[in-house]
């Protein structure tokens, strides 16, 4: 039970997120109204994705230093879970946008063409595709050592590409998406209200820990599979 404390923490944080996220007080903003509660779910997906990609690239760098195969395995599986969270972020964002950005008076496809041009969406899509390329690159190399080394180097490039794709370019260009000025969601003075911060930060932690939990399971499973294959 001692090493499982963080899993219990995950469950507690997520239960808190769901209850406080739906019942807690939120500011009434035009257009957003109650949908602002999506902050605890949609935005957390992206935060979890960024943290998981960060963990992945740290494993890749450590792999290049030590050439230990288990580090390469961890890097790959953390990136995989990161992509999953990114896709969930994209999907939830699509739902949210269609009820806040889309003009109800014109056909949904017409507003889609303007929404899809939003630099934040394109940046996120580029980032996810770069990570999809990481998976394809890995699986196309048969030699185990070569695969580990090349994909570790590529993982560093992919992570570096996150900076322009999701952190710099969307803030330079005009966008419908909130969080362009300063440090979105982390700026204590001007950004989200104090009530929301009380839910948002635990929510980020909870979702991220859930991602870590899933990845840990995948790693342990992969260890068993590799053992069976005699690797």
């Amino acid at each position: 039970m001692k090493k499982h404390w963080w899993k219990i923490l995950t469950v507690l944080l997520l239960v808190y997120t769901f209850i406080a996220g739906l019942l807690g007080p939120v500011p009434r903003l035009p257009l957003l109204q109650e949908t602002i509660r999506n902050l605890y779910f949609h935005v957390c997906m992206w935060f979890a994705m960024m943290i998981l990609f960060m963990v992945s690239v740290v494993h890749s760098i450590r792999y290049l230093n030590t050439l230990k195969p288990e580090l390469d395995r961890a890097a790959r599986l953390y990136a995989g879970t990161g992509i999953l969270f990114g896709l969930l972020g994209y999907g939830t964002g699509a739902i949210w946008a269609s009820f806040t950005w889309a003009d109800p008076n014109i056909p949904i496809l017409d507003s889609f063409s303007t929404i899809a041009r939003d630099p934040k969406l394109i940046g996120a899509a580029v980032a996810l595709l770069v990570y999809a390329a990481y998976m394809i690159l890995r699986d196309s190399i048969n030699d185990i050592d070569k695969r580990a080394r090349i994909s570790a180097v590529y993982n560093i490039f992919a992570f570096v590409l996150l900076f322009p794709a999701i952190w710099i370019l969307p803030r330079v260009l005009p966008s419908l998406h909130p969080g362009n000025d300063g440090n979105p969601a982390l700026d204590v003075k001007n950004d989200i209200s104090a009530d929301m911060r009380m839910v948002f930060y635990p929510a980020v932690l909870g979702w991220t820990l859930l991602g870590v939990w899933i990845t840990q399971l995948k790693i342990r499973l992969q260890v068993l599979v590799d053992k069976k294959l005699g690797l």
């Binding site: 899993k7 997520l14 769901f18 209850i19 739906l22 019942l23 399971l217 342990r220």
Partner: protein, 69 residues
């Protein structure tokens, strides 16, 4: 059995007026107050519980496999 489905569907149509005659008074119960947001919370918590239980079961299974060696 299959032939019964259209019949059942037609029958369900007739129950529509019953639904529109929902009680006009607010039932003073937790699950029926505050725009019934608690129902949404219950549903979401049920999904979360299901996912977490699934993860715990997977965790246990993998732990068992690890101990086999």
């Amino acid at each position: 059995m299959k032939k019964l489905f259209p019949l059942a569907a037609i029958f369900l149509l007739f129950t529509q007026p019953l639904l529109s005659q929902a009680p006009k008074y607010e039932m003073a119960q937790l699950m029926r107050s505050d725009g019934r947001i608690y129902v949404v919370i219950a549903v979401m918590l049920a999904i979360l519980a299901g996912l977490i239980l699934y993860l715990i079961r997977l965790d246990r299974k993998i732990a068992k496999m690890e101990n086999l060696k």
